[in-house]
């Protein structure tokens, strides 16, 4: 018995060490990075559970591929290096497909047509972009709102662009008056301010952008996921998600309903 125990002890110790070392490696089949707090795409309920349009979508895709899914919280501008470094398999965060991004990463077919928006305090006299001349604009670092605002800064005469790590800190600064307007994706803002009377969206900025899931370049997973998205569109599952999270039925011509090609650089 003694020799049995003395043989067991080192084995147990090494097993523990292995467990500790592998704590991160024993992850799900698909590790999904998401910028939690990006309503209604991916955010945390008071119970601590991650929920949202893209969380539902990616979980359904995992289920149909027969793979377990684990969602990890990564700030938006960190998602790009996270997929490239292989720390996550899929990135979701209402990520816009752009040619520049396609040079370094891969995207599945789009599932949402979006636009930018200008949000101000309700008590502000501003009624659109024209009133933002000489004003300070907030954006999310590296987002399409950032790109649009930067390339249109001269045209609209914005005094300064402040770059935030996401919606919550930017809205805090809008509230405290450090920034005069916040330019970001319209669906998130519409969802965020639906119960907040002191903010209002004063302009929709058409950019023709579409959202999808992002993968490392050359990752074959994109093909499988893309196939499942086609199925989910045909089943009406994606349209159902649209109804659940935006309380409206998507247009027949929108990328939420219509099956699309894998995005490639023009």
């Amino acid at each position: 018995m003694k020799s049995f125990l003395s043989g067991l002890a080192p084995a147990a110790v090494s097993l523990c060490v292995l467990c500790v070392l592998n704590a991160n490696a024993v992850a799900a089949d698909l590790v999904v990075g998401a910028n939690i707090g990006n309503v209604p795409w991916e955010f945390q309920e008071s119970s601590g559970e991650f929920v949202g349009f893209e969380i539902d979508l990616v979980k359904e895709i995992g289920a149909r591929l027969g793979k377990s899914v684990e969602v990890v919280n990564i700030p938006f501008n960190g998602l790009f290096s996270a997929v490239q470094a292989g720390r996550i398999d899929i990135a979701v965060s209402s990520i816009t497909i752009t040619d520049k991004r396609l040079r370094s990463v891969a995207f599945a077919q789009p599932y949402y047509d979006s636009a930018q928006s200008l949000t101000v305090l309700s008590k502000s006299p501003a009624s659109g972009l024209a009133d933002m001349r000489g004003k300070v604009i907030g954006v999310d670092t590296g987002s399409t709102g950032d790109m649009w605002t930067t390339s249109n800064q001269a045209r609209h005469g914005f005094a300064e662009i402040r770059r935030f790590e996401g919606l919550a800190p930017a809205m805090l600064d809008l509230q405290s008056g450090r920034v005069d307007g916040y330019i970001s994706d319209i669906p998130s803002l519409e969802y965020f301010i639906r119960d907040k009377q002191h903010f209002r969206i004063v302009e929709r900025i058409a950019t023709g952008e579409t959202y999808s899931m992002m993968f490392a370049k050359g990752n074959p997973l994109v093909i499988d996921v893309n196939r499942v998205i086609t199925e989910l569109k045909q089943d009406g599952y994606v349209a159902e998600l649209h109804e659940r999270w935006f309380s409206s039925i998507p247009a027949e011509t929108s990328s939420t309903v219509r099956v699309a090609e894998l995005p490639a650089i023009d």
């Binding site: 938006f76 501008n77 960190g78 790009f80 290096s81 490239q84 470094a85 520049k100 991004r101 040079r103 370094s104 990463v105 907030g138 670092t141 590296g142 987002s143 950032d146 790109m147 402040r162 770059r163 935030f164 790590e165 800190p169 805090l172 600064d173 405290s176 008056g177 450090r178 370049k217 050359g218």
Partner: protein, 224 residues
């Protein structure tokens, strides 16, 4: 994508370089402002702590202890996001400079105190015996020697302040780290982060070597 293409992508370096340079300028300016104001205030606080009346001396000690205990990132977030609720709304630059200065000042004060206390008591007594005023004793006798002693630790503190400027990126400051994360997201490539890291190293390595040099020199002098 290969290693070089991912981490040292030349096209990305070229297109993000102007952004990174503008970030470097902000980092340098923020570092310089915080270091200089931290030095001046730190010397003042050290003198108050050592020679002022008891209530002031205790206040200086409490200040030093509190600001050496508080994490800089926490202080920065409090200054930036909490002070507006009491009507004090500082710009990102002012918030970052204030937080960095408050902490740097506390460390600088401790360094100066240690330096002054390292001067043998006999020199204070000799100065007094010669009839030197307090100001002359400090400016002509004590501080010139104390400053020699404190230069290596002060330089170390400067290095820390410059490194800590990177924390200012959380309050929407367009510093070097912020510009690098922005460029990284715009290009969807981590090269700008690597370039920023190299810029920090290029900036601080000479200072790190200088500290080593000064410490060696100082050791030589005291052992003579």
């Amino acid at each position: 994508m290969g290693f070089v293409e991912t981490f040292f992508n030349w096209d990305v370096i070229v297109s993000s370089f102007p952004l990174l340079l503008s970030g470097l300028r902000v980092t340098l300016f923020l570092g310089a402002v915080s270091i200089i104001s931290g030095l001046v205030l730190g010397l003042f606080v050290a003198l108050v702590r050592l020679y002022a009346n008891r209530p002031f001396s205790i206040a200086a000690k409490i200040y030093i202890d509190v600001f050496r205990s508080i994490p800089l990132l926490v202080l920065l977030i409090v200054v930036y996001y909490a002070l507006p609720f009491v009507g004090l709304r500082l710009s990102p630059f002012m918030s970052a400079a204030l937080a960095l200065t408050l902490v740097s000042c506390a460390y600088t004060a401790e360094i100066f105190r240690a330096g002054i206390e390292a001067i043998p008591r006999g020199q204070f007594e000799a100065s007094q015996a010669l009839g030197l005023s307090y100001r002359h004793m400090m400016v002509d006798v004590i501080l010139p020697q104390a400053i020699r002693i404190v230069i290596p630790p002060l330089t170390n503190n400067c290095i820390n302040v410059v490194k800590d400027t990177a924390l200012a990126s959380v309050v929407a400051m367009p510093d070097l780290l912020k510009q690098a994360t922005q460029a990284q997201a715009l290009e969807a490539n981590p090269t700008p982060l690597i370039v920023a890291a190299l810029m920090y190293i290029a900036l601080l390595w000479p200072l790190v070597m200088l500290v080593g040099r000064l410490e060696k020199k100082h050791r030589g002098e005291t052992h003579r």
